[in-house]
Symmetry: C2
DNA sequence: TCGACTTTCTCCACTGAGAGGACAAAGGGG
DNA sequence: CCCCTTTGTCCTCTCAGTGGAGAAAGTCGA
């Protein structure tokens, strides 16, 4: 079937669409309160949007003591696809135009298998969501990949953990396959946009969003806009030196943050501790499953295992030191911690907070909340949907 | 006398004023090529600006084979005052509307004497410039101070090296004294704006400007705009930890970058080296003047003194390590090194470059120039003039 | 020296965005 | 049942902005 073909014709219409997306259904009068347009002009633009089918009028709103108002909302059949490709798993979700998640699938996956295999999987997951009746088709899709992206073209560049993706025309290829507009961005940026749209960072203009998963990265939002840097690698903090002459890192240097703390590093350290007999708890888990992951460390820590707690605290300290530098440099209004390791919870958060509050200047930390992300695994897919909706809800 | 009372009435006029500021005199036709307005509309706006006196038509331009064009330029009697307050000296300059420096004074000063004493000196310097016939009055002034500023109000906040300035209403007070609009910002931000306007950073949208003087700070330009952070302390990198458990710093922590490299730290280390007999060159200079500064170290290094060269290299390495982190994080298109220690020249630059190119990811450094500022001590005052002109050349 | 051509600038009529007021529609409350 | 409030519609007026015609002022070649 044919999907959303229209785009807002001007900035007013774009503004109205975004208000309806972020604020839900509204009457004309309520919209008028927010846009600083005369009622007549507003009526004209709303009528035009109604003609395009991007919005619909459905029923009367409750009266507040006067003429009853007609409710205006975004077309209820609009559907966005949000895809969050991680290193070891992929999230695919369908949202409506208000970016509410209607259906969400998660599957294990190995990003190193390359774009063709991964997108085959993504497309089959999208088909499954469609088959379940959640969507007749998609009006747009946002894709997050775990590496730098040349944003305007939607192409990954020199991604360290995903060889084979370098230069692959993700945007073009998926747009073809899905038959709808596609935007591509770094997964960390999408997480930041997700938390900004529907999570802890609502109404914060300058914040950092640190995602600790298999690797470690940082979404940067300045003045409400994502900062991507000149080559799309901004926020790539995994290879900042955290420990002088520290552990060797895959990048060739020593002491990189990622080599000392990340999902992968934590698993490696846990394995070492188990094999050296420093933790009965971890050794038991290793025997049971044959392998250890960050989840095992989290569980062991929750069970009171001192070695696991030490590992988390140690990693949190290293991460906190780096974040302290970034806080001094960037002076954000909020720091969000997210990603797979948020399961490590408050032990991790406490260690990070300690370092930041100790090392950064009081002026920068005085009013600085450091919190866990609110959306968990949906942050990425909501951010992806937000990315494409921002694009589609802008004048063509 | 009455000065510039008019402001542009709309965005078109603001655009035209900035074009004339940055591109110099232009004919109507040349302006038309740059603004995407119809000739008629352009003529209307130019006429209105002529009426306000903000621009003047002076004479005919050289013919290019057709009707001769009238040259349009910003009013030649417009004058901006640029003030750059450092820790130990102050720069005051007069510029015309094109931000060309017409006169420039530099005097030693101690910022710790407090705002009242400092501004007395600044005002007398401004009066001297006026008396020399360079200006009949000032249409606006930009002020740079060596510490964080609450930008909208133009008030320093919690400045570590300038007690007594905290909360002093710089903008309001100076506006009163000078009788013209005033804008206040951190000195490092102004240096960045200066290099952006007339120096190495022309036409670069995302760059960092590291100023190493008595202290050390970093101007951040993202998307062409200065990023100041939520409390105005963005770029305050002097207290990022450069050396774990390193030298004690005035801020209470250990190992801060500023404690290991800055004008003050360099002077301290040089004194130590001289007293311990590690450098004959420095000891001689110490005896001659009774004190050592960064300038002495620069001179000794230029004369081949190994100890001085080591000090510079060591400091450059520490600074480079920190900058490497910031480059990974921010992914700028250019890094500018400026401030008092640029006299240390290529020894310093080489050390910084080595660290950055070694530690940051190839994608971030691949096309990254790291250069010395081009404007030296005028960067700050040009940036200050640019700050106020940006303000005055915007719709009221 | 005289057209032919180019460039720059001005004038004028036309379009469309947007504001603001009058008014109609639809409710609540005394 | 009348008066007030709220919401939505309609109509007119203003002004920003476009585009074309043409005047003004030059260059260049014959």
């Amino acid at each position: 079937m044919r999907r959303m073909t229209a785009r807002p014709a001007n900035a007013h219409q774009a503004r109205l669409l975004k208000l309806l997306r972020d604020g839900g259904p509204n009457s004309r009068a309520q919209l008028g309160d927010q846009v600083d347009l005369s009622r007549s002009k507003l009526a004209v633009e709303v009528d035009r949007l109604l003609e395009t089918g991007l919005i619909v009028a459905d029923g009367l709103a409750a009266s507040r003591g006067g003429r009853r108002s007609h409710n205006i909302r975004l077309a209820p059949n609009l559907r966005f696809l949000g895809v969050d490709i991680g290193a070891t798993s992929v999230d695919v979700a369908v949202t409506n135009a208000e970016l509410e998640v209607l259906g969400h699938l998660n599957q294990p996956m190995d990003v190193r298998e390359g774009p063709v295999a991964v997108f085959e999987q993504v497309l089959s997951m999208a088909a499954k969501l469609r088959a379940s009746g959640l969507a007749e088709g998609f009006d747009g899709a946002g894709i997050g990949v775990p590496g730098p992206v040349r944003f305007p073209e939607g192409v990954p560049v020199a991604p360290p953990i995903m060889p084979g993706w370098d230069g692959f025309p993700v945007r073009e290829a998926l747009s073809q396959e899905l038959g709808c507009p596609v935007m591509v961005d770094n997964d960390v940026n999408l997480m930041a946009m997700g938390e900004q749209h529907a999570g802890v960072a609502r109404s914060v203009g300058d914040f950092l969003c640190v995602k600790i998963g298999t690797g470690i990265g940082c979404g940067i939002v300045a003045g409400g806009e994502v900062h991507r840097g000149v080559t799309g690698s901004a926020g790539d903090i995994g290879h900042i030196q955290a420990v002088p002459d520290g552990r060797p890192c895959a990048c060739g240097n020593r002491g990189c943050l990622e080599a000392h703390f990340s999902g992968a590093a934590l698993a490696r350290d846990a394995l070492e501790a188990a094999q050296q007999g420093r933790s009965v708890e971890l050794a038991t888990r290793l025997e049971a499953t044959g392998t250890l992951t960050a989840v095992d460390v989290a569980a062991a820590a929750a069970a009171g295992d001192a070695t696991s707690l030490d590992l988390i605290r140690e990693g949190g300290n290293r991460t906190g030191e780096v974040i302290a530098s970034l806080v001094s440099f960037f002076n954000p209004g909020l720091v969000v911690i997210g990603g797979g390791v948020t399961g490590l919870g408050h032990t991790l958060l406490a260690a990070i907070r300690t370092q930041v509050y100790r090392q950064s200047l009081p002026l920068a930390t005085g009013n600085l909340p450091i919190v866990l992300g609110e959306l968990g695994p949906t942050a990425g897919v909501i951010g992806a949907a937000r990315l494409i909706s921002d694009h589609l809800f802008s004048p063509a």
